[in-house]
Amino acid sequence: MDTAELEAKVIEFIASKVENIDTSTITTASKFEELGLDSMDTVQLLFDAEDAFGVTFDGEEVKNLRSVGDIIDYIGNHPPTSVL
């Protein structure tokens, strides 16, 4: 999967998980709080992303994930741990 394809898939995934959001407002620069997610919403989103993209977010590194682009970079740099 190339970067553009991954980017589109992550944005599509986030749009499916965040209630009442206009997909066109989600960009790689969007911070989670700008999407209306509080800290617990963010943890839930990352948990759901693990299953959706077959990755495992490291418990410590996850604290540094603050934006849509951070998720894309993380997935891009960590090959899937499982095929779901």
Binding site: E19, D41, V43, Q44, F47, E50, T56, F57
Partner: protein, 405 residues
């Protein structure tokens, strides 16, 4: 001070409204079937009383569903019905509105799911703990409806809801609340939980091919209880306040009694059961001679139904054979911490309608079970005082008394 029931809601294997539940209970409809919610081929007991067709999306947002276990979702649905039924609680101060709920297992669906993931080295859902905790359902009811008074949860196994209703009665009598949303919820038709009950030889295993006849309290050939699930919710208020606001009143909650066997962690005991029934009558200021209906605990275990029969005979003496008894679990199985709330609704509907629902699958009674269990067909009989029994693991015995006004 007189406490009354002004609202009721139910989610059960035979109906997700009081009307539907009661219509099916009177008709003797079985809600027991082969387990649909998971692959039960490895279970010894492959049947259950499941709430089928339940769609939380009809009343909860996607985020609320994600953050709640099934037992909370069942509780929320029953609470919505009960609060709509009671109407007008907004006249009370939010800090005077309490919740007192029972659940034996709490969010065990989440527990089993999260534990399985952990054992596979997968991440655990972040809302695992707030979904699993036993007070989750009570907290969600409070949050959804702004009930800011005392918020209690009672976990005493199969008698949880009866204790929760009794605690609600105490909250009202002691002036700690003006109205209480009370009852119980359970959702443990689950592989690990059922395997645990199988290991105790508590579940029926001989009727996997004939589920509708598996739950057979007091009958010959019964071989254990059938796992069930559901929720029952009552709204309780002081009678004077309920009358003042023009509320519809179903019945009076007249008494609550509890007693511990203090003998064995799972085996039932006659003395404890008698003590709980007597305590409930004493609390109501009534005598055993006034009871004219008993909603029995009656789970369909070989020992339990005999012990309850003996306890009723000991307390009611020569009157015991005259009192109509029925076993709601014959139709819906054993919904553990919700069962006494559902039994209470059945008892209240008996007082309301003058109809006693049957104990189904009672073609031939166990010779040691020789009372009037209202076998197979409903009976018309005006009742004014109903006793609802709930006996749980831990030797936890509870009885509650409902009366007409």
């Amino acid at each position: 001070m007189r406490i009354v029931v002004t609202g009721m809601g139910i989610v059960s294997p035979i109906g997700a409204s009081v009307d539907q539940f009661w219509k099916n209970a009177v008709a003797g409809v079985s809600g027991i079937g082969g387990i649909q919610s998971f692959d039960a081929t490895k279970q010894r007991s492959k049947i259950a009383g499941e709430v089928t067709g339940f769609d939380p999306a009809l009343f909860l947002s996607a985020k609320q569903i994600e953050q709640t276990d099934r037992f909370t979702q069942l509780a929320l649905h029953a609470a919505q019905q009960a609060l709509e039924d009671a109407q007008g609680l907004e006249g009370y101060q939010p800090r005077r509105l309490a919740v007192s709920l029972g659940s034996g297992m709490g969010g065990f669906s989440t527990f089993e799911f999260s534990a399985a993931r952990r054992l596979q080295n997968k991440s655990v859902p972040p809302f695992s703990v707030p979904r699993i905790m036993a007070n989750s359902a009570a907290a969600w009811i409070a949050t959804k409806y702004g009930l800011k008074g005392p918020n209690l949860t009672c976990s005493t196994a199969c008698s949880s809801a009866a204790n929760a209703i009794g605690m609600a009665l105490d909250l009202l009598r002691t002036g700690k609340a003006d109205a209480v949303v009370t009852g119980g919820a359970e959702a443990c038709v689950l592989p690990l939980t059922m395997t645990g009950f199988e290991a105790l030889f508590a579940l029926s295993t001989g009727f996997n091919a004939d589920p509708a006849h598996a739950s057979r309290p007091f009958a010959k050939g019964r071989d254990g209880f059938v796992m069930g699930e559901g929720a029952g919710i009552l709204v309780l208020e002081r009678e004077d306040a309920a009358q003042k606001r023009g509320a519809k009143i179903y019945a009076r909650l007249a008494g609550y009694g509890c007693a511990c066997d203090a003998t064995h962690i799972v085996a039932p005991d006659i003395d404890g059961q008698v003590a709980a029934m007597q305590a409930a009558l004493d609390d109501a200021g009534m005598t055993s001679g006034q009871v004219d209906y008993i909603n029995a605990h009656a789970t369909s275990t070989p020992i339990g139904d005999v012990v309850e029969t003996k306890a009723i005979k000991q307390l009611f003496a020569e009157r015991a054979p005259e009192i109509p008894i029925s076993a709601t679990k014959s139709m819906i199985g054993h919904s553990i911490g919700a069962s006494a709330a559902i039994g209470s609704i059945a008892a209240i509907m008996t007082l309301q309608t003058g109809t006693i629902h049957p104990t189904i699958n009672l073609l031939e009674a166990d010779p040691e079970c020789d009372l009037n269990y209202t076998p197979n067909s409903a009976v018309e009989k005006k009742a004014q005082t109903a006793l609802c029994n709930a006996f749980g693991f831990g030797g936890n015995n509870v009885s509650i008394v409902f009366t007409t006004l």
